[in-house]
Symmetry: C2
Subunit: 514 residues, 2 copies
Amino acid sequence: MSEATPRRRTRGGGGAARRAERGAVSFETAKYIQRNIPNFEVLNEEALEVIEYNAETVLEEIGVNFVDNPAALDRWREAGADVSGERVRIPRGLARKLCATAPSEFTQHARNPEKSVVIGGKNLVLAPVYGPPFVRDINGGRRYATMDDFSKFVKLAYMSKWLHHSGGTVCEPTDVPVNKRHLDMLMAHMTLSDKPFMGSVTEPSRAQDSVEMCEILFGKDFVQQNTVMTSLTNINSPMTFDDVMMGSLEVYAKNNQACIISPFIVGGAMAPVSVAGTLTQVLAEVLAGVAYSQIVHPGAPAIFGAFVSSIDMNSGAPTFGTPEASLVTYGAGQLARRLNLPFRSAGSFCGSKLPDAQAAYETANSLNMGLMSGVNFMLHSCGWLEGGLVADFEKFVMDADQLGTLHGLAKGVPIDGDNLAMDAIREVGPGGHYLGCAHTQANFKSAFWKSDLLDYKPFETWEEEGARDTRTLAANRVTKLLDTYEQPAMDPSIKEALDAYVAQKKENMPDSFL
Amino acid sequence: MSEATPRRRTRGGGGAARRAERGAVSFETAKYIQRNIPNFEVLNEEALEVIEYNAETVLEEIGVNFVDNPAALDRWREAGADVSGERVRIPRGLARKLCATAPSEFTQHARNPEKSVVIGGKNLVLAPVYGPPFVRDINGGRRYATMDDFSKFVKLAYMSKWLHHSGGTVCEPTDVPVNKRHLDMLMAHMTLSDKPFMGSVTEPSRAQDSVEMCEILFGKDFVQQNTVMTSLTNINSPMTFDDVMMGSLEVYAKNNQACIISPFIVGGAMAPVSVAGTLTQVLAEVLAGVAYSQIVHPGAPAIFGAFVSSIDMNSGAPTFGTPEASLVTYGAGQLARRLNLPFRSAGSFCGSKLPDAQAAYETANSLNMGLMSGVNFMLHSCGWLEGGLVADFEKFVMDADQLGTLHGLAKGVPIDGDNLAMDAIREVGPGGHYLGCAHTQANFKSAFWKSDLLDYKPFETWEEEGARDTRTLAANRVTKLLDTYEQPAMDPSIKEALDAYVAQKKENMPDSFL
């Protein structure tokens, strides 16, 4: 079972330990979720077989495009595909056979070994929002994200009990030149946190830089023998694999680092308007992408991804937390498990412009569905706002708090003498109450998930305290967390080597904002 | 499948029909949900058997109290129980055997036959919040509820596409004497709406009044042969059945009207602090309650209820949308199905004082869980705020909108030629888009659930329109709905008879606010 590990980050010193002890903000990190509940499945065997058959028909008859990537076309030809121009048609059975070398689960190592995660199986690893060019907070409003914002999010993720992973581009640090951002972002993940993180995919050369920085952090041999990064390779749905994403994938796969291979679906625009049709296309795309990663390097870790939203057919806007997206995700989870691949989907998705009720309904719909659908790696699990355009500080800690409910649900229902509580029922009897009974006294501290944020106070107390809404409470929590942040310790020689690497890289290229 | 029935309420007149046609607010009522998805189950066979065995041990060894109700004790004695003082100990197997005469599903008739609902099986019927003494809206704030508020909620429920049921005490009309409230509340449900509704349980005599008013509305013979009311009988957990609730249950059961028999659980206070212990007690209580209803009248419709919240062990406040409450509800659903009884649980539960993000997270957690756990009758499915102390106008329409997502999820994944969409995938091909393809054009109108409330507009448009949050949008929708409300037609002679009945009843008793 998933249990919080009550380990304070103390930087090794007795003084730091005492300071941490006095800290107002509780600070523990939970182990990644190990589900003790079943997955929710919406497709029966017949439906699964039809979709699997049709996906192979798509690959064989229609095919996929590998764009501006002659080496990929050569590799596919050699593997037995029918290549014509940039179109790759994959004979029935070939992609599935190639996928078989990908591991069903793998460990992504963190520099703090206690925070390494196992991705796959019955596990769920939670990582923050990825990609927004804007940030928002209650005082500063909506604005372009900066490196300072980025660092704050890394700190918040580091201090969030229910986040297991530091993520990647938690926001776009738009004040740093595009061609240097990945260096600063990686440096922040590596030095401000000790949780696992993601590598850059915006250019193959930046993927290579990510590998080289990890070689400094973890040691070159360790990186070649172990997975220390996960990366997000989006497919340009429908059925298009571009050279930048595939070039990055090639770097990671060759170095045994993990790739999420993820159709990017706005239902009705990038995929058919029906759930079954979308699932067919998603499976075809993932089969082609994972197969390609295994052609590049058999055995490289690959994750079956599915970014799924619906569309508002009036405005064309993507919509989130919708039932159709949930149904696609439940089905995709089943398809991933039948391929023995780890599954990535769901997140704190919402279309709302504010961290209000709309945002929370949509997010809760998606988070619950993510747990139930068997997701193994949940990117965007907190902080997403406005269709992914904005990383919101308050929503980050609001969502991160809700992630605790997933840990609680995943525990399932233990059936043993103590949990059956027959002694308590006998002790209390008809008309009594359980507040003071022995069983309650022995178990109340761990019995219920406890929010670090939500307000359960009586109306009168709440009103006296200023009638604060969730966003206001969250803003206070953001401040409190950042005020009490302490950087995890790092070997100074490693820090120096990383600094030197980044400085040298930056020196050798002119700034570019393109 | 659940489908919206596009039937306008037109009062029969061509003029009214044309006015309705011009109405700004779309007005359809969906059929109750018929699930095409499986239930989510957290207990395996062994766990179920242990809990079932222990529940019977509770009944046999500890027993339950029937308070101030000598007739009930006589009935139990006659049925074979061991009665000592007010304690009723039920031999293993007896309660289960008695429960067998309760129907596994039943129809609750509405005065508009198209709005009758089937409670049980794979169906889910949604009804609004029940019981709050306070109301809140964005302009008026929090205040004691009045009959005017009550009527507004009945109108909103009548106009809500996704609500199948008008509910009961949607708020307490505190400006009406306690002993006359039930008359005014029933009159409002009967005349302002044509959806099914609930009867009074605050005194056995008021249950009898409810039956008599239904005899006027539906005809005496019809009521004796059909179920036209559902009622909420709470058990005073642990294991206490009071005379008021049981007296009302006796009236309804004798008249073949439906009773929800519902343990009222704040985990850690009214039940053990563990999920398995709570399930044991819930099952024991429901077995005793349903068995009693069947002793009174074999075959009377009875619903396995479970009101479940957790407790904040620091403050003692009840908490909602928690993982522990979800696990209890999933388990209780399984236990109900093994008893072949309809299941009532879940709702728009939250502890928040405002319809903000906390409220929406908690509510979405509970609504999703309610669908997945196989709930057949969901009381409180919209409008609940502040632990049930407040019925909130904005949250009522916000939640009611979200109920649409449950309808969408319940559809599952149809697998047929059109849904598989292979023609669309062929037509569009790699790199294209689906917006204009034939399949999308043919299906986009019904493909996605569409919110009537949430904002999907681009940031700039949203900002120009006043940067409104969900609550503000909801307040506008409340006004718009109430402004366009039209009363459903009723036979004037029935209306007169109801008025006469209520007037005569009121005349014969002094006001009481106790």
